[in-house]
Symmetry: D2
Subunit: 141 residues, 4 copies
């Protein structure tokens, strides 16, 4: 069974909260990555870099709607929106008590490292393509 | 003199680098914030939240072009691209040895906190508007 | 029922791992704090600072025995070893698959803030003292 | 010339400050590591892990005296107190405006990785021993 989306729940830790009392905006990207890696584990995959292959981020963004606070329980829903030859795109929604706190996007690419330390795009390996899928797109709007 | 852009140089620290040997993508947002706060200091301003006012982020993004590695010296150039009634927009370029590593954007809003803990947008105070300015837009392209 | 110890299990996240492939040593202190705060929640308490009271750390240490790696599941056991008038001492053991990875200690103090921004020690409030307890000390060795 | 101590000055960043308005206690260890790595660079050395050798921490501690706040400039003085066959010990003092904020210790060990992923202690390489030295111990007190 291919995996196309996954939701994790995680509690806000003290060291993630800034002096305004809000989760620092850089942490939202780490929450999104936690959900991404949990999705890969669910699919039986491991995203950790090896000497042969890594998955650096190509682009990422977040829109913030409402602050998240200490000890809040955050639901992080990540969805695969596109799989191409050497890249994967995700969208992400963070909610606290069913209220949307933020929405994000992320694109990762599959690369190998050359002896000169450059990164070269390579096609996603078959075992990854076979285990991941995109979420169905709504037929209208 | 109004400040519209600022550049800082900072060295990559060990704890910022992930197991692929690259600066973790969440750190780019912290580099951008460091440059933003240095720009505010240069303008004689302080961005720290007070009981009356805070500057949460409304949106942010990064496009990654090339990895940054341990002990690299990163130049972080931040520019104010728009100032509105209650928000400020920035663009940001990260370079290592004059090679572009990433480009980012960030929008912050000025808010006050209500007794019920909600955040209400408020106009930027005059002393902030008087000390910051947008970078000139090129006349063509 | 008073709480004197608590154990949490948490998975190692990618952003916690350094370029040697090990959890960075600074993260062990955050794992210990996560367990401490979970212990306080279990006791019906909240450790978050208020305008009147905060619990800064007075001292902390870790001895490292074995590396912890990406996606390991870490058991964090925290125990209250001493409660004094205005301070609490903890010990902590981190294990992965029942193998000890590290042992730590931490002392926190109860303080209030003066108008001049100094921190003054104050006695632990009664509701805290009534809900926390020290672990029994073994009778010998 | 052998290097036995080094001092860096660094400004407190926003993301290092917790909701009590103090630098989070885990950051002190990162400040100490920044000074350590700067000391190694000054000695012409590079502490980054290679496939053959790494320098994991064996023990570390901090005693906290006074809080450090946003935008404070922190002086971090690190000293080598002992060099043994396969380990190095440091002491560290953090000051803000010549007021001691914290004192720390750290012991690192030199290891190589075996094919089974275990870490084996190895002697410090000669080029490291030749470039580092311990600070003189005061003759009395």
């Amino acid at each position: 069974m291919r995996v196309s989306e996954h939701r994790i729940r995680r509690r806000v830790q003290f060291y993630e909260v800034d002096s305004a009392g809000f989760v620092h905006f850089s942490w939202f990207f780490r929450y999104m990555e936690e959900a991404e890696h949990a999705l890969w584990r669910l699919a039986g995959l491991r995203i950790a870099p090896t000497p042969d292959m890594a998955f650096p981020r190509r682009a990422t963004s977040f829109d913030y709607r409402a602050p998240i606070r200490f000890e809040d329980e955050v639901d992080v829903l990540i969805r695969i929106t596109k799989i191409e030859r050497s890249s994967i795109e995700y969208s992400c929604v963070l909610t606290v008590d069913d209220r949307v706190a933020a929405t994000g996007t992320m694109t990762i690419v599959c690369v190998r490292t050359t002896p000169s330390n450059a990164l070269l795009r390579m096609p996603l390996p078959d075992d990854i393509v076979e285990r991941l899928d995109t979420v169905p797109v709504p037929s209208s709007h």
